[in-house]
């Protein structure tokens, strides 16, 4: 054990004892305990650890910089008034400048100032040594003794020896503090996560969580104030009780102050002030001495361009009232760190000290950044979850509404010749349930003879019935206008279109002058765009992110109704097949839609199993979509029209992704007791070295899902359906689906692609199947100039179905 023996009258110092005292002290008092032990060991009056502030320029002439109290042990109440020293005119500053220790036993005879002595009037001796902390910042440890108690060279020797271990000890103490705080914050957030069980916490529950975090931070950093501001647009609007969203950005989520903070909402970009600066710039701000803010404007302007403080402190009456200044003391040192994810600022955590030691160190800043990162991660997750929850609810409403619409359409179809205008009006009636921002909604169809758009249905909560007659008369051009109207653009591109600011669109004002933004979605079937679904909002809130997709889906659904109505009329012509085909199609269509609705309800009712229910909803919707698409194709082929192709260049990854999704959805709908698994061999596609294939994506997806559905229906229990890519002997690209199950007999191979054919075994092993699946796949492949091959393999009960694409449709990786 190393001993440092002091001069006469001094206690022997054991480094080990110093270490023990420092590390055994309570969590926040390690540094103080270390200084107290040094004071006792040296029989000094007091001791201060000064740190040179970042940004100081010791090379300047004269040197520029200040020392701040990092920690102290002085038994004088008044000492808290001391905050900083000039580096060039103080003992401790000179120690850092010269990087050598200093003893002066007669302060009154020295030209140097050390304002400490103006408070410690009975002291006149100082021993100070330079210390380099572990993060390379410079500090000075200064000991003070009463008049008549001089420091000796022996004291200098001892303290210099001590100085070697102090940075290590300080670092150890800091590490402990850091891990303690981070651990505590993490635990608070983890507990909140466990409590929430993946469901949204209420606003008050969240506030409680963040209050705990502020308390942790305040305890660890000895803060007078620790406050958390967070971006929370949706809940702020509720919390602010009707305040316009546009004026609210960041809300005070929690604070350690007992009284309300005057300024608890920040706009971020349009205000002055330190917190606003942090929220706007997304950078931390660290002001050492707010009392001298104006004097320090030079360096503050350099380090924090644009930062202003005077708004809140220059006004003296306000200063006196400012709750931050509780008990009449104003904050002297402020640290504010942004809470960010990427370049998105979610909020800010702010600390201030109104009691000594005032100074926040660079380690405090780093620690606060760690806390901010934890909060950012958590808040981002919660915001994301809420967004997802909102979106999920919207999807559930969509499924419910489409289900109701389906019932309506079903009844309309049953009643005979369907009135499509009534169907469209019914669809609009559901729209504002799905998209609450949809205020003025209409369906406009293309007049085939004039190519003009006319209104066939209109409604919405802001729709004025007085306008109905006027709007009904209105017709708009779809061609020839420059720039084209949004609707004309949608007719051309067949894609939905969002206009965030209607004032930029010259044609909107005629009918709906109050509309601020709109979504135009195509109403289309496979061949044509029949018209557009026009959704307009008059409020300040933007459309939610998923609104465009929802509008597109509803537009497609309306297109499907149109096609369905046409199809049913065509199908009814064939009386012989009507009963069975319709019963089967009805069964295939109603089953999944009913179940999707039920699953959607269960997702709302059964907390914790939403994901499995929503997955099932997705699979069931895909099945319904497949049935309706089959019906469309059946109608087209029945009327001897060629299948129109909408070729896109499909890359390898998109193809594999589609196959995987289709496999997952098919597997999801098979009785798990049969244990049939689907396996997409993605490597086999990569091995073909094919880059992209030119196909109609929707049709290819339809063909794949038809084949996978068959494989699922006819596979034996406990088998795997393999899907892989490859090349034929002629080098043509092929997708193969291989399963072990009921085989098509060789004599049936030719017939199995004919319409309404069903194998004998198939008839008794599946309850559904209209016998159009393979017939449609065959036509889809022929439309692509490709080929459908069905071949029993040499192994027993194995069947391979191959989709072969022509060489022209495939491009190789160079």
């Amino acid at each position: 054990m190393e001993h440092i023996v002091g001069e006469a009258g001094a206690k022997p110092i054991e480094i080990a004892e110093l270490v023990r005292k420092a590390l055994d002290a309570d969590k926040k008092g390690g540094l103080d305990a270390m200084l107290r032990y040094i004071v006792e060991s040296f029989q000094a009056y007091g001791c201060i650890l000064w740190e040179l502030a970042p940004g100081s320029d010791l090379e300047a002439e004269p040197p520029d910089g200040r020392l701040f109290v990092l920690a102290s042990h002085i038994p004088t109440e008044d000492f808290c008034a001391i905050h900083d020293l000039s580096v060039q005119g103080s003992y401790s500053g000179r120690v850092i400048l010269r990087w050598e220790s200093l003893i002066d036993n007669n302060f009154t005879a020295s030209e140097l100032q050390e304002r400490v002595f103006s408070f410690l009037k009975h002291c006149s001796a100082i021993l100070s040594i330079p210390i380099r902390l572990k993060d390379d910042s410079k500090a000075a440890l200064s000991l003070y003794r009463k008049t008549g108690e001089e420091f000796s060279e022996g004291d200098r020797l001892k303290i210099e020896q001590l100085s070697e271990i102090m940075p290590l000890l300080y670092q150890a103490i800091r590490d402990r503090i850091n891990s303690e705080l981070v651990g505590n914050v993490d635990k608070v957030l983890h507990d909140a996560e466990v409590k929430s069980r993946g469901i949204l916490l209420t606003f008050l529950e969240k506030k409680t969580v963040f209050k705990e975090i502020c308390d942790c931070v305040a305890r660890t950093l000895h803060c007078h104030e620790a406050s958390l501001f967070l971006y929370d647009c949706q809940e702020v609007s509720l919390y602010m009780n009707g305040k316009s969203l546009e004026t609210v950005k960041y809300e005070l989520m929690a604070t350690t102050l007992s009284r309300a903070i005057l300024k608890n909402v920040y706009q971020g970009q349009q205000e002055d002030g330190l917190t606003s600066w942090v929220l706007t710039e997304g950078k931390p701000a660290w002001i050492f001495n707010l009392n001298e803010f104006r004097e320090d404007l030079d360096w503050i302007g350099r380090v924090y361009p644009g930062l202003r403080w005077e708004n809140t402190l220059a006004d003296k009456p306000l200063l006196e009232q400012n709750p931050i200044t509780q008990k009449g003391k104003s904050p002297r040192c402020v640290l504010a760190v942004p809470i960010s994810i990427g370049d998105k600022v979610l909020g800010c955590i702010r600390c201030s000290r109104a009691k000594g030691p005032y100074y926040f160190s660079g380690r405090d800043l780093d620690l606060l950044k760690l806390v901010a990162a934890l909060v950012a991660q958590c808040w981002s997750t919660w915001l994301g979850r809420r967004e997802m929850d909102t979106e999920n609810k919207s999807w559930i409403k969509l499924v419910t509404s489409i289900n109701q619409l389906n019932d309506y359409v079903q009844n309309a179809l049953d009643a005979g010749e369907p009135d499509e205008a009534r169907i469209y009006n019914e669809a609009l009636r559901h729209l504002d349930k799905i998209i609450p921002e949809a205020d003025l909604n209409s369906v406009r169809l293309v007049d085939p003879s004039t190519k003009e758009l006319y209104f066939v249905a209109m409604g919405g909560k802001k729709f004025d019935e007085k306008d109905r007659a006027r709007i009904r008369e209105y017709r708009s051009m779809t061609e020839g206008e420059t720039p084209p109207s949004a609707a004309a653009r949608v007719l051309l591109t067949r894609e939905p279109y969002l206009i965030e600011d209607c004032s930029t669109e010259p044609y909107h004002q005629t009918l709906f002058p109050n509309a601020k933004r709109k979504i135009i979605a195509p109403i289309k079937d496979r061949r044509d765009v029949l018209g557009v679904l026009d959704i307009r909002s008059v409020g300040e809130n933007p459309f939610p992110k998923h609104a465009v997709v929802v509008a597109d889906l509803i537009g497609r659904q309306l297109g499907l109704y149109h096609r369905l109505a046409t199809t049913i009329v065509q199908l009814r012509r064939d009386q012989r097949q009507e009963i069975q085909t319709w019963a089967d199609i009805s069964h295939q269509l109603k089953g999944p839609i009913n179940q999707a609705k039920r699953r959607a309800d269960l997702a709302l009712e059964e907390k914790g199993s939403e994901i499995s229910h929503l997955n099932a909803v997705r699979g069931l919707c895909r099945k319904a979509k497949r049935v309706v698409n089959s019906l469309n194709l059946l109608a087209e082929l029945a009327s001897e029209q060629p299948i129109p192709l909408n070729r896109v260049s499909l890359d390898y990854h998109s193809l594999v992704k589609m196959l995987i999704e289709a496999s997952q959805d098919t597997e999801l709908l098979i009785d798990p007791r049969r244990n049939i698994r689907f396996w997409v061999h993605s490597q086999s596609f990569r091995r073909t070295q094919l880059d992209r294939v030119e196909v109609d994506f929707d049709l290819l997806e339809q063909a794949i899902t038809n084949i996978l559905d068959n494989a699922g229906k006819y596979s034996f229990k406990n088998t795997v359906v393999d899907i892989f890519g490859g090349l034929t002997k002629r080098g043509l690209f092929q997708i193969t689906v291989r399963n072990e199950g009921l085989k098509i007999r060789s004599q049936e191979l030719k017939d199995c692609v004919t319409r309404l054919w069903r194998g004998e075994e198939a008839k008794v092993t599946t309850q559904e199947g209209s016998g159009i699946g393979l017939w449609i796949v065959d036509h889809i492949m022929k439309a692509h100039r490709g080929e459908l091959l069905i071949m029993p393999t040499t192994s027993d009960n194995m069947t391979e179905v191959k989709l072969i694409f022509p060489i022209l449709g495939v491009s190789r990786v160079p």
Binding site: A583, G591, P672, S715, V764, T765
Partner: protein, 154 residues
């Protein structure tokens, strides 16, 4: 009370069983998912018969399997396929235990089945949609009619 559910779509089966169990935790529900299974198990089932049978109309004969022998399948099944399997099951049940209430629970409408739907007492038809309320009400009605078994009467 015991219910036998004959339903070959496991998603539908799950939904129905869940709805029943949620409303009537004390009801035992046993399930059968193919017509062949129904026929094979009927003797065993009748030893401890259910108080109600819920039947889908379109039910497959059996699961695909390596030993499927078409010649062993009754001619009416080969001819009618899955489309009217539920009606066949009902006839078999009717011959054996005619007093059991039977509920046809199907997405098929009455008009889809036309004259094939049995015109007998205690045979009901309910439209299978996303809302199980009608089915649950039917069960409740029948449950209310069942005699209460008191402990001291055992």
């Amino acid at each position: 009370m015991k219910i036998l559910l004959v339903e070959d779509d496991y998603i539908q089966e799950q939904a129905i069983v869940t709805a029943i169990k949620k409303k009537f935790p004390d009801i035992q529900v046993s399930t059968i998912c193919t017509e062949l299974e129904f026929r094979e198990k009927i003797d065993e089932t009748l030893k401890n018969p259910p108080d109600m049978v819920i039947l889908d109309v379109m039910i497959r004969w059996t699961d695909p399997g390596p030993g499927l022998d078409l010649e062993s399948i009754p001619a009416e099944v080969l001819e009618g396929g899955a489309y009217r399997a539920g009606l066949r099951c009902e006839r078999i049940w009717e011959d054996r235990l005619p007093r059991t209430p039977i509920v046809f629970y199907s997405v098929l409408e009455e008009k889809d089945m036309k004259s094939e739907f049995p015109n007998r007492p205690r045979v009901y038809r309910l439209s299978k949609n996303s809302d199980p309320t009608a089915l649950l009400k039917k069960i409740q009605d029948w449950k209310d009619k069942l005699p209460v078994v008191h402990q001291n009467s055992l």
